[in-house]
């Protein structure tokens, strides 16, 4: 039964009508001004000179290359970081070993380090004056100012995303399920595929989605290692900046709108995944509706 608030029931803590209205109003106005309005401006500006101009900007070779580079970077960096994230989460939650806490801290470092620092660091490791620079040049391998450098910098920045989603969940799940599977005769690989993975899949997908969003949007680290060569090493975020500096406002907004659409897809995917119960066991909750059939 619903209990209705009447004049005689005292409000719960922090639930007085005045405070409530003021707080909700403040958050709504602030959110609109800060987040929603600028996003709307992007689209209105992108289409301000008509659909034709928008299409022209998008189909410009430099923009197309930037889109290609961004997608290629994501296709390389996200799977590698996903594998790393699963391995790290597995190692930390299922094994006891010396240096476990240290590993946890290492995984978290990219969260607290400014991406530009990562970019500069890579510059010194792989640059011509850097550690491996001369050797790489001798072998004619281009890392900096090329796709490998962009992928490496993106990977550094997004290294924690998958592991961070998985570790709390896998810690809560413990080792019993894996022990049960092994005691029933399953191999390690089989146990991972049939027992571990299905129980972490929503959290894993969630981590992958977040990782992907960050890889596609990464600006700081990539801007250092890519060299920002127009039409060659410019990713979408860099391309937006470049167009903007060219006083091509509409072009900048058009490119930005593509990034925004990519981001919106990510947000929608995230919301859908959360509904599926990311971080919880997925199938039973869904299947609960089937009882009695």
């Amino acid at each position: 039964m619903m209990v209705h608030h009447s004049a005689s029931t005292p409000p719960r803590v922090g639930d007085r009508p005045g405070i409530r209205r003021a707080l909700i109003g403040f958050v709504l106005i602030f959110g609109t001004l800060l987040v929603l309005a600028p996003l709307l401006v992007i689209f209105s500006q992108a289409f301000s000179l008509g659909l034709g101009h928008f299409a022209e900007t998008i189909s410009h070779p430099d923009t197309r290359h930037a889109i290609y580079l961004t997608v290629a970077t994501a296709l390389l960096a996200v799977p590698i970081n996903t594998a790393f994230g699963i391995a790290a989460a597995w190692a930390i939650t299922k094994f006891d070993f010396w240096g476990k806490r240290f590993l946890l801290i290492v995984i978290e470092i990219p969260f607290s380090v400014s991406p530009i620092v990562a970019g500069v660091a890579y510059l010194f490791v792989y640059g011509l004056q850097g550690l491996f620079g001369p050797a790489l040049q001798a072998a004619d391998v281009k890392v900096l100012f090329a796709l490998p450098g962009i992928v490496l910098a993106s990977m550094f920045v997004t290294a924690p995303f998958v592991a961070r989603e998985l570790i709390p969940l896998m810690q809560a799940q413990g080792r019993e399920l894996e022990e049960a599977a092994t005691s029933l005769g399953a191999s390690g690989w089989r146990t991972f595929l049939t027992v571990t993975l299905p129980n972490i899949r929503w959290a894993l997908l969630y981590g992958v989605v977040l990782c992907n969003a960050r890889v596609m949007g990464e600006f700081g680290a990539v801007s250092v290692v890519s060299g920002k060569i127009r039409g060659q090493t410019n990713t979408l975020p860099l391309h937006v900046e470049l167009l903007y500096h060219d006083y091509n406002t509409v072009g900048a907004f058009a490119a930005a709108s593509i990034l925004t659409v990519l981001a919106l897809f990510t947000i929608i995917a995230k919301v859908l995944l959360e509904r599926q119960g990311a971080g919880r066991a997925g199938r039973p909750a869904l299947a609960a509706n089937k009882v009695g059939t």
């Binding site: 019993e176 049960a180 599977a181 005691s183 029933l184 049939t194 066991a281 009882v291």
Partner: protein, 340 residues
């Protein structure tokens, strides 16, 4: 399959969880490892399963040295305290898991038939398509047992099998597990901290304390001849009465107990609540009643002696007393242990 543990030692970091345990479990026997938390009972079970490895000593399955055989090849059925059912699989899929991953190829039909047989054995026909989150704790435990039995284990190992269930379900499942054991005749080792469960279910009880075996024997042996104050206290409610032994005899007010083999000096008399009797007048230890507790199976008095010690004694339900009443307690029977 007979299981033999030979002087098994297990350390975690520097903590000695199991210190030199030797044990023999006969083929087809149902044995309980009983002890308080931290006594090493679960560690022993996990070593028998191959989920932990012994630092020293050996474990034999029949004549085979199984000490270093990994759990996957050891052929044991393990039932976990919290069931460890795979939450994303149905009851039927859970039970079939071991057969599906086994090296021995089975046809789909074979697996389905076996799953149905096992569901019948654990009395869960019709729950094949449910998920673990949709069944009760007692049902989950039975599914866990069916899953463990599906791979035809040589040995069945259960870790606190009824620990997470409420009292009525526990009682029924105990009887039922005993029936299944008698039907299948599979060598079974289970861990519990509940003495009633161990005595109720097992052919033989192994009592552990701080990583070592304190006493082992049939329920009758450990109940009637507890070899230490620890075993006596652990197996049930106990009263402690301070006394002095002289020439193998302990004199108490209104009672004289023989204590053969006990060294002269201060001793503790340990007696069950049923081994004390009450009288309003006459001989005995003078006490005053603190509380009267009524239970389905009888009435219990909580009394205080003049030294301030509290005693509990079971009296016939017709015996009446109120808080503050004075009376006397006679010790009918008790075991004397040197005071520690």
């Amino acid at each position: 399959m007979k299981i033999v543990l030979e002087n098994v030692v297990k350390e975690f970091n520097t903590f000695r969880a199991v210190r030199g345990v030797s044990l023999e479990i006969g083929s087809g026997e149902l044995v309980a490892l009983l002890g308080p938390s931290g006594s090493g009972k679960t560690t022993i079970l996990r070593m028998v399963a191959g989920l932990e490895f012994a630092d020293q000593g050996a474990i034999y399955f029949g004549d085979e040295d199984a000490t270093n055989i990994p759990v996957r090849e050891r052929g044991v059925g393990f039932v976990f305290q919290h069931y460890a059912l795979f939450p994303h699989m149905t009851v039927g899929e859970n039970i079939a898991f071991g057969m599906k991953v086994s090296k021995k190829a089975r046809s789909k039909q074979e697996i389905t038939d076996r799953v149905n047989d096992l569901l019948r054995l654990v009395k869960l026909e019709g729950l094949n398509d449910r998920f673990p989150s949709q069944i009760s704790g007692g049902q989950k435990q039975r599914v866990a047992l069916a899953r463990a039995l599906a791979v035809d284990p040589k040995v069945l190992l259960l870790d606190e099998p009824f620990g997470a269930l409420d009292a009525n379900v526990r009682h029924d499942l105990r009887r039922w597990l005993r029936e299944i054991h008698d039907e299948l005749g599979i060598t079974t080792l289970f861990v519990t901290h509940d003495q009633e469960e161990a005595l109720d279910l097992a052919d033989r009880v192994v009592i552990l304390d701080q990583g070592a075996i304190v006493q082992e024997g049939t329920p009758e042996q450990v109940c009637r001849e507890p070899n230490s104050a620890f075993v006596m206290k652990f197996l049930g409610d106990t009263n402690r009465i301070a006394a002095t032994a002289v020439n193998g005899v302990v004199d108490l007010p209104g009672a004289r107990l023989t204590a053969p083999g006990v060294v002269d000096g201060p001793v503790d008399i340990l007696a069950r609540p049923g081994d004390l009797s009450w009288s309003a007048t006459g001989e005995g230890i003078p006490v005053s009643v603190i509380r009267v507790i009524d239970r389905p199976e009888g009435r219990r008095f909580l009394v205080r002696t003049e030294n301030g010690e509290t005693l509990e004694l079971d009296v016939p339900v017709s015996t009446r007393a109120a808080s503050g009443d004075r009376g006397f307690v006679q010790v009918l029977q008790g075991n004397a242990y040197p005071r520690s």
